[in-house]
């Protein structure tokens, strides 16, 4: 187990930021930490990196306890804090050198490793520029480079793509995938597509509690609600409400049908069906049998987005 979080609770004053959180991260796993702002993602990460102590509970990183072996834990971790703080008056090389030396790297090996990271992160063009002159995308790369300069086993990335434009997001995501290979990664985000694109596993956290834990696919399945199929069809039948509507409603597994109005002789319907079912085939056969002209049919199932929305706005779900 690379990281073991046990019963972590943190109070800010009287306010509980995280509440009895426990989870494990396996070696080599990329874990997405998902939750709305203020859910406790950052707090949890700050505790794992030994920036601040929990009110109770503990964390074990690669076998080292955050209380007893804080320095060992810090050596194991590469950390990109929220908002990616950097020394704007240093240039890229100076900053990476500084970071590496504070991680105990000495002259031998340091030069090579720095060159490696500069190349890997695509920083060679700007390596002698002041960080303050760099664009946000480049700064993020510098942030990643400093986090990985000492080749840590564990990477903790707090919202690594926030504030970037879509192209930069893809770049940084690929960089994380490339560099995070064979590393244990925890990354927090509130962008869902990011989790689907990069993570092996997702933990959704809300109001300081873990509300879901699993692969993105599993979460989608577990929290899948009713399926909906939207239809658009033409019919010769005179009265849609009496001729078509009851027949749709009469199909097995159909829970509800909504009429969406008429548009150039085409009628729209939304068919709600039972969880996990797929009625497209039956609908097609029905249409053929009745002589309806099917113009459009599409099936929508719950996205991770909806799972997230459900979990983080409603009452906390019991596990």
């Amino acid at each position: 187990m690379a990281i073991a979080v046990r019963n972590l609770t943190k109070y800010y004053g009287r306010e509980k930021a995280i509440d009895d959180i426990s989870f494990d991260v396996k070696s080599g796993e990329i874990l997405g930490f998902l939750g709305p702002n203020g859910a406790g993602k950052t707090t949890t990460m700050k505790i794992i990196t030994c920036y601040m102590p929990p009110s109770s509970g503990t964390v074990d990183v690669e076998g080292y306890d955050i209380f007893d072996h804080a320095l060992e834990v810090r050596k194991k971790i590469g950390y990109l804090p929220e908002l990616n703080p950097l020394y704007l008056d240093m240039n890229v090389i100076e900053y990476l050198d500084y970071s590496a030396r504070l991680h105990g790297m000495k002259n031998s090996g340091l030069k090579g490793r720095m060159r490696e990271m500069v190349d890997a992160c695509g920083l060679s063009d700007v390596r002698h520029k002041d960080i303050g002159e760099l664009s946000k995308g480049y700064r993020q790369r510098v942030g990643l480079a400093q986090a990985m300069i000492h080749d840590p086993d564990v990477l903790i990335l707090d919202e690594p793509t926030s504030g970037l434009d879509p192209n930069q997001i893809v770049e940084i995501r690929n960089l994380i995938k490339k560099l995070g290979r064979a590393k244990t990664v925890i990354l927090s985000t509130h962008i869902l597509s990011e989790v689907q694109a990069t993570c092996d596993r997702v933990i959704i956290i809300n109001e300081g509690k873990i509300v879901a834990d699993g692969t993105p696919e599993k979460l989608q399945q577990d929290f899948r609600g009713a399926e909906t199929i939207s239809l658009q069809l033409k019919t010769k039948a005179g009265n849609v409400m009496t001729d078509v509507f009851p027949k749709l409603k009469g199909l097995a597994q159909v829970e509800n049908v909504q009429y969406g109005g008429e548009e150039k002789e085409a009628h729209r319907f939304t068919v709600h069906t039972a969880k996990g079912s797929d009625l497209r085939e039956q609908l097609f056969r029905q249409a053929v049998a009745e002589g309806w002209v099917l113009l459009e049919m599409s099936r929508k199932s719950t996205s991770l987005e909806e799972v997230f929305h459900k979990l983080t706005t409603a009452e906390p779900v019991k596990q």
Binding site: Y12, K46, T49, C50, Y51, M52, P53, I66, F67, D68, A70, L71, E72, R74, K75, I77, Y79, P81, E82, L83, P85, L86, Y87, L88, D89, M90, E94, Y98, S99, R101, L102, H103, G104, K106, Q146
Partner: protein
């Protein structure tokens, strides 16, 4: 609040003394990369030339005593300007979070930053040696008070830098850090001059706390263990509480 107890392993600490060196070099370089260092040196010299060097010849004595009594007051205004950024800036920018999650002791951070600011002050004292050369060339100067004076100035600068560093650790606002630092240094400077306002039985204590009292002892060329202990303990104490204040992780 419980802090993660970082066990002080002396052996590992000495082995990693390079951390202090790394932080020291980075801080000193950032003084010289920005206008701060140059402004400090120029302001420092401008004050000394204006108030001291212009009268140097009128005094007609081969002594630097006037300079040694002037420089502490320049310190009071210049040192807070140098030290205010040391920790406050990192708090404001959030880089403190990166710095304190490196495998580095808080005390190493404090020590590295302290040494950098102290070095800058000592560097800005260097050009004043010109006056020593001038006077020594023109007259028969007593070297004791000169050595004592410079030693005293360096010790005093050390205490002031430690005070300023502590002030900087209290806040993320550099202006606030500067005002707190300036007030503390000013208080240390005038303590031995306001004894008439202090109940008589406290006179010796208040006088002992004042930094100028010990400085003038050393500047006379007499190095007394009491003064050395004073400087060492105030400096150590300020660095210690700065370390504690840095470890206070809340915002």
């Amino acid at each position: 609040m419980t802090t993660p107890t970082i066990k002080l392993d002396v052996k590992a600490y000495l082995k990693n003394f390079s951390n202090v060196g790394t932080i020291f070099r980075k801080e000193l370089r950032s003084y010289f990369n920005s206008p701060v260092a140059y402004v400090v040196i120029i302001v420092f010299l401008a004050f000394i030339e204006w108030f001291y060097a212009s009268d140097m010849f009128k005094v007609n004595l081969a002594t630097m005593r006037d300079m040694f009594s002037l420089v502490p007051w320049i310190f009071v205004f210049v040192v807070p300007a140098i030290t205010m950024r040391l920790i406050a800036e990192e708090r404001k920018a959030g880089t403190i979070e990166l710095l304190t999650t490196r495998p580095v002791h808080d005390s190493e951070i404090v020590l590295g930053k302290f040494l950098a600011a102290w070095a800058l002050i000592c560097i800005s004292l260097l050009p004043t040696l010109v006056h020593y050369v001038t006077i020594a060339f023109l007259g028969d100067i007593d070297n004791g008070p000169v050595v004592g004076g410079y030693l005293g100035l360096m010790l005093m600068a050390g205490v002031f830098v430690a005070v300023g560093l502590f002030a900087s650790s209290l806040t993320e606002n550099q202006i606030v850090a500067m005002i707190i630092g300036l007030a503390m240094m000013f208080a240390l400077m005038i303590l031995d001059k306001i004894l008439i306002y202090v109940p008589e039985f406290m006179n010796t204590i208040v006088e002992f706390i004042g930094v100028d009292f010990h400085f003038s002892n050393i500047a006379r060329g007499v190095i007394d263990s009491r003064d050395v202990i004073y400087f060492a303990s105030v400096l150590g104490f300020m660095l210690y509480i700065s370390t504690i204040s840095l470890a206070r992780r809340k915002w």
